[in-house]
């Protein structure tokens, strides 16, 4: 009975909503109607049952698809924005909206030639417009397609707030960050379990006088060693990246490598870390940053580099900066060049509708006024259709 009442209420809102969608609606209705037989039609204006990112297309634009719960822990151990993680816990499901930037990226990835040098894609947009979520959507696609995903959740975490900075054993002038490196290796292991035994090392790595990893051993052994021996974990990260770079796109047992870096502008800029004599540490003096920069170069093939810019965690960048050159700086731009910039804009009218209906469906909007037309107009006005601002506003209602 509750469901009936719910669907009745939604039917009313849908009846008002229909004129807004215009011509696209008819197509959606048919496509969606064909896919599902169990759910009533009214509930799926903003949802789609197409949960495989590879099969999503323009007709699913603005609709939410559900990420299977099993994928959450493997694909996104550390990648999702914190507020979204809370939302997933609250709603007991993880729904991601299908939006234009992610679809564009996925279509590029589908059509790219992987024998050519790596393509770099850069997602940019104002704060809160959905860059990290688009990145996660693309990462989900790569993961379902069987790619090896190297997800760095926030490159800014590596250039600030580091309590322990050890001088590197491998290179005299560089610094290691054992805690960050071992955390990342742990998450990397969770994401790519099935690859770890398949990839074999092509080189012998000597860690100390007594310890070394021989050629031909599986990559998993290297990663385990890095997680357990925290001191040399930064060098292990470097070795892992090097191996993956050499072996991606190889003809025998080749795999595709996706390097997803969030907040890539942190790699070129300043750090807040200081050496013992209080002089500042440049980013290239950090082992992790040095190795990651090598991954972002396009001198390897067989994969793609998908990056986002982020002002939120960045250091010494003005809060209104969002364009690539402002946040990357000269050095960063020259390193990333040539890349394909993908702009992420605020919600369009249709996307806003979907978001609003989704929150209504999840009973997230409790305030009675928010269910009225004026309430919706107020929300549009207050949030300016900015996804994160809308999410924060609705949290109060």
């Amino acid at each position: 009975m509750a469901l009936h009442r719910l669907s009745f209420r939604l039917r009313q809102t849908v009846a008002q909503v229909r004129p807004l969608h215009g011509s696209g609606c008819g197509q959606q209705q048919e496509a969606v109607g064909m896919e599902l037989e169990t759910r009533p039609e009214t509930l799926s204006i903003f949802r789609t049952q197409e949960n495989d990112p590879a099969c999503q297309s323009e007709q699913h634009l603005g609709q939410y698809y559900t990420v299977p719960p099993s994928h959450f822990h493997t694909v996104f151990p550390h990648g999702l924005p914190p507020r979204y993680q809370q939302q997933v816990k609250t709603f007991n499901e993880g729904c991601v909206m299908v939006r234009q930037p992610a679809l564009e990226l996925i279509s590029h990835l589908k059509r790219a030639d992987y024998s050519k040098p790596t393509m770099r894609y850069l997602l940019y947009g104002v704060k809160g417009s959905g860059k990290t979520m688009s990145l996660c959507h693309t990462v989900h696609y790569c993961s379902t397609q069987g790619w090896l995903v190297l997800h760095i959740p926030d490159a800014h975490l590596w250039v600030k707030n580091c309590k322990e900075l050890l001088p590197s054993s491998y290179h005299a002038s560089r610094f290691d960050q054992p805690i960050q490196a071992s955390n990342w290796l742990r998450n990397f292991r969770t994401t790519n379990e099935h690859f770890l035994s398949k990839i074999k090392l092509r080189q012998r790595y000597v860690w100390t006088k007594r310890e070394s990893t021989e050629e031909g051993r599986p990559l998993g052994e290297l990663v385990d060693m890095g997680v357990s021996r925290v001191k040399s974990s930064s060098d292990v990260v470097g070795a892992v990246l090097k191996e993956l770079r050499l072996q991606a796109g190889g003809t025998e047992g080749g795999f595709r490598l996706a390097v997803a870096v969030d907040g890539v502008n942190g790699l070129w800029g300043r750090t807040t870390l200081k050496k013992e004599d209080k002089s500042p540490v440049a980013p290239e003096e950090l082992t992790l940053v040095h190795n990651l920069r090598k991954m972002i170069n396009n001198d390897w093939c067989g994969g793609a580099v998908i990056a986002t810019l982020s002002q939120t965690g960045s250091l010494y960048a003005p809060s209104s900066a969002y364009l690539p050159q402002e946040l990357l700086g000269e050095e960063g731009f020259d390193s990333m060049d040539p890349f394909v910039p993908v702009p992420v804009s605020l919600y369009s009218e249709k996307e806003f509708e979907s978001c609003y209906l989704y929150y209504l469906d999840r009973h997230w909007l409790q305030h009675p006024h928010s269910r009225t037309e004026e309430g919706k107009k107020e929300l549009i006005f207050l949030s300016n259709r900015n996804p994160s601002v809308l999410e924060r506003l609705c949290a109060f209602l």
């Binding site: 059509r111 396009n298 001198d299």
Partner: protein, 297 residues
Amino acid sequence: MATRTLKTSILSLGRIHCHIYGVNVRNPLNRATYATALSINTSSQNKGFPDRGNRGPFNRRSRREAGDPRTDRMPVEQDWTAVYPTATPFRQGSVPLPVRMGFPVKKGVPPEKKGNLELIKIPNFLHLTPLAIKKHCEALKPFCTEWPSALDTGAKCDEHFPVKVESKDYVSAGTSLRNPSARIVHLRVSFCVNYDYAMYLLTVLYHESWKMEAWESEKTVADMEEYSWEDSPSQKNIMSTLVRMQVEGEGEAVREELLGRPEVQEYRDSVTRLKNEGESESSMHQYRDAVKKLLNL
């Protein structure tokens, strides 16, 4: 006279002792803690103050008595420049004017100058009376030369000195010497200058600017006024990418051919535009289209 002296001394003592013991008997709001002609505490002068003996900080016995204020002994035709020769704070005993300043006491008038902090705080120009300035000028005269007698009209000055520089100096007796308006300097050039000479000057400057000095060859990329795509990291990146994509052989000919392609030209224009004009949505879009075309997306 003697009683007056006693009263003033008691008042001054009372005030000082007030400060020592932190007791503000007069007015807790500190509004009019200036001495008034009515002395409130004359009876209690010794009550709250235990005898410290000779060891106290204010040793009353060997303390010199304060004398008459100077104003009592000032004749009308005195030399004021001797009273205030330089910029000094206001001294109520040296200024023979019945000045009052401050917020009025309840149902009263602004407090008088005796012990008036407001008068001491503000800058005063008592040292710059017209007589004092005359004396300054007299003192400076030996260091000055005569004004040229031929330059007696404004027109003659303009004719001989067409370029005029005006600067302003500001005088204020305050905590800081600087006045930001003093930084503005006006330079005036009148147009009835020697035209031929002006042309000659411009020609010389033009030719001089074309001469290359030895140190100019040390100009680095950071010094350049505009971004030039040739020999930039951007060009190197795209060349190496394209060469690797081509699969055909290396060499100068391949590079030349690549450079000549229209997509590469478009890419070059978009990068130059981005760097020179700064970023905007439209320049980003142009760059995006150029890269997509170039890399066959």
